[in-house]
Symmetry: C2
Subunit: 196 residues, 2 copies
DNA sequence: CCAAAAGTGTTGAATGTACACCCATGG
DNA sequence: CCATGGGTGTACATTCAACACTTTTGG
């Protein structure tokens, strides 16, 4: 029987691996007077997370109070093995984490936290597709992200594979901190057109 | 000295009054094994809240663990007096609540929770302006919300005041449950144009 | 020269903002 | 008949999805 006064911190980390969004879940009890971030850092290697945000706090089925965090790791980074036997509570948190990520992908630059330092547009597409849960064309992905100034060109190109094809341009995220790229879907303040 | 194992639930309620977004803050300690919603209900009359959502969990300056909720009350509803002497922690939570509200106003129908059952467009504008923190024209507000199907016409018109003017049409929110009206700012799934 | 992959041009639709103008009422 | 507030029409900018077409490579 868990102590009803205890507090658990749950790290829900997502990483794209081989075309799939993979969950890694870790939990620790928060010590008395311990900051949330410290407990989180005991649960997972926070330095490896390119982005972290708090997800939600709920009472788990066993009565434990739990605060969940969403963490994102670049596809090319080393990360712990996928957590496969998820408890129902954990499974719900993973779903919530994925929903949060999916929503933010369309109006922020969060994808920087899932992508390597530099990449081609097709490589980036292979990250967006599992993260969004639906298909995206490389053409439109490039257009939208370049127009918004989210992506910046990087010197050089990626040589084509054995099957040929034009060499791909390399890009990086202009910023690697979370930014809102489309602040108002509507109801913008008067006289605030796109900053060009 | 607060018990470091205790858990406080903070209700941050916002209501528009006389052109201002007014905060009401209440806190209660969550009892052992008590669900979060139950504690919240002890803090504030939840039935009076047209919308509630969890805001964030943090350790307060005095070491207490606190989970904050954002609540919204229609402008015409009775509600407790404004909480004026806000502690720094509370003040930060109010800021966070306002920020969350502002963001959601532009891509959801949350405003239903701040508006009376029926209203004219100018009345609605007087709610949006303080809630958004910037000016909005009644013209565009009407256009955007009607086009999105967020607002529906209601039988009848509001008679003009002493100074004359054309009688105003009455509207209501088509739904009074939170709905995302602009799900994807970009990167929509293929073949998913506006449902018209 | 052909297939493959990357990238650009272009079109059409949707959505928003700004602003001019028309409508209905009180005095 | 004029001031006031309400509402519509229209023009214009922005943004995006879709798709045709061009570019650059390997074999």
């Amino acid at each position: 029987m868990p102590d009803s006064t205890s507090h658990t911190v749950v790290a829900v980390v997502l990483q794209v691996r081989q075309g799939r969004l993979v969950p890694i879940v870790r939990r620790v009890d928060r010590g008395p007077a311990e900051p949330l971030e410290t407990a989180l850092a005991r649960a997972i290697d926070v330095a490896a997370l390119a982005h972290v945000e708090q997800l939600e706090t709920r009472v788990l089925r066993d009565g434990t109070l739990a605060t969940a965090y969403l963490g994102l790791v670049p596809a090319d980074a080393d990360a712990p093995d996928e957590t496969d036997d998820l408890a129902p509570d954990e499974s719900e948190l993973v779903t919530a984490a994925h929903a949060r990520l999916r929503a933010k992908l369309s109006y922020t630059n969060v994808a920087f936290a899932l992508a390597p330092e530099t990449f081609t547009i097709s490589e980036l597409r292979e990250i967006y597709v599992p993260a969004l849960g639906h298909d995206v064309s490389a053409t439109n992905l490039q257009r939208v992200l370049v127009r918004r100034g989210v992506l910046a060109r990087v010197e050089g190109r990626r040589a084509p594979g054995r099957t040929g094809g034009r060499p791909a341009a390399l890009y990086r995220f202009a910023s690697r901190r979370l930014e809102i790229t489309d602040e108002f879907a509507a109801l913008r303040p008067p006289g605030s057109r796109a900053t060009g």
